[in-house]
Amino acid sequence: MLTVEQNEELTRVGPGSPMGELLRRYWYPIAFVQDFDDRLAKSVRLLGENWTLFRSPGGRYGIVLEACPHRRASLTYGIVDDEGVRCGYHGWKFDFAGQCIEQPAETDNSNFRARVRTKSGQAREMGGLVWVYVGPDPVPELPRFDVFVQDGVRDVGYSTLPCNWLQIMENSVDPHHVEWLHGAYFEFLGQTQGFEAPKSFQRRHMQVAFDEFEYGIIKRRILEGHSEDDDDWKIGHPLVFPFYMRVGGAGIDQMQIRVPIDDTTTWKLFYSLHHPEGGRWEPQERPVVYEYHWRRPDGTFITDYVEGQDVMAWVSQGPVTDRSQEHLGKSDAGVAMLRKMFKENLRRVQEGEEPLGVVRTPHEVIELPCEKNKFGAGAAFAEQWITGGSMRYSPIQQLLLDLHRDAAAKDAAAGRA
């Protein structure tokens, strides 16, 4: 239970808000590379501000505030070249740093343009996503987390959800929801609607633990019948501060990404890398992207798959859940720990210090700890994940199933399974 004031501090992400200032210390994915196949500029919204994201003919990405500083027309409908973007309304031109470099209708000897600068950021491509940084200098390194840069078959599910990003983050430190939302509730739906619910999620939690580490919080669990020697406890998987969760198992590694669009909107991505041991795949130029569906035309939630159940739990709390009305139990200790981590890092930023997980050292890859044998389910977990999760909407679902089945068959033939 928090005060209304504390809740607002933790959930407001706009410019000038304490959380907005903290969140502006990190890189965010905000578009796919294929978004620029048929255009050079796109409107995006991030941290409560509207931006124009553009790609020059030479392939360089840039991001500036969408509203032209002149008369506020959208720069997305401008002229993009290798120097930057020019407003379509009166021709004012801005370079990648947001500096106005041309004002065609003003007199040549005027220094007016030198005094006009719009807010800008950095933009780069990694793993088929376009990443942006809109915070203060010095610009940190773009963290090359393993899933984004390692080889395999990638597909990315996306949807825009009408709720605050923190509701989704708190779900990442809430292990017990798995056995209920994805276990008992899924089984209930299966029995009443006539389908087979996956069994991997139904095991009871006997013990959970949370450890802080250099990128966030490692979550561990011991399920009924398991021990401290199982991957779920020995390795666990991390919440990566402040907007990711890394999960994996059975040859699938996934980064769940919660981009804070504004106080009440989150762009939610499931970025999956399929690379089962012994599997063979063709090189991919870019990830396959697809939208997963979570609401029917009549407004009810689609809950017959894992992530649809999660979305129901996040969105049904309301746009910003009122934490002054909640009643937490001991199974919510991870939630309390995450709030403490946010508060601690809010303070660090206010005092001019570097918050957790900002990367300053150039690197090839950041490998994150993540269990391989998820829920002790072995290779069967991949099949259950692909058919019982958001990947059921993937246009390459059959290819993924074939990849994992072939790899499992090879493992079995080699006596490894």
């Binding site: 209304v4 504390q6 937490l328 001991k330 309390a336 601690e344």
Partner: protein, 98 residues
């Protein structure tokens, strides 16, 4: 002899009897406003390590319940102490057989 069940201390939601709280409370019309008021007004107010205020906006305490206990997961913004604070209404000990 079985001890009588513990009863929780009730805080009467009368403004004159409540300490001044620097934080905003839920609106009176909210579903659990009296409950929230009670829980927010009698939470720990000072760090057990350094004595700094825990309610001045620099720190955070998140309350959760464990059986009869109210557990306050606490981070002090002054000395960075992290731990739990559990108010005790009755000390219960068990005498081992001897």
């Amino acid at each position: 002899m079985t001890p009588p069940p513990r009863t929780r201390r009730r805080v009467v939601p009368d403004a004159d009897l409540l300490p001044v709280d620097p934080h905003r409370l839920p609106p009176p019309s909210a579903w659990f406003a009296p409950d929230a008021e009670r829980h927010l007004l009698d939470r720990p107010r000072h760090c057990p390590q350094c004595g700094a205020s825990l309610v001045d906006g620099r720190s955070i305490t998140t309350e959760y319940w464990m059986a009869d206990d109210r557990v306050f997961f606490t981070w002090c913004g002054s000395c960075h102490w992290t731990g739990t604070i559990v108010p005790v209404e009755r000390v219960t000990t068990t005498e081992p057989e001897h």
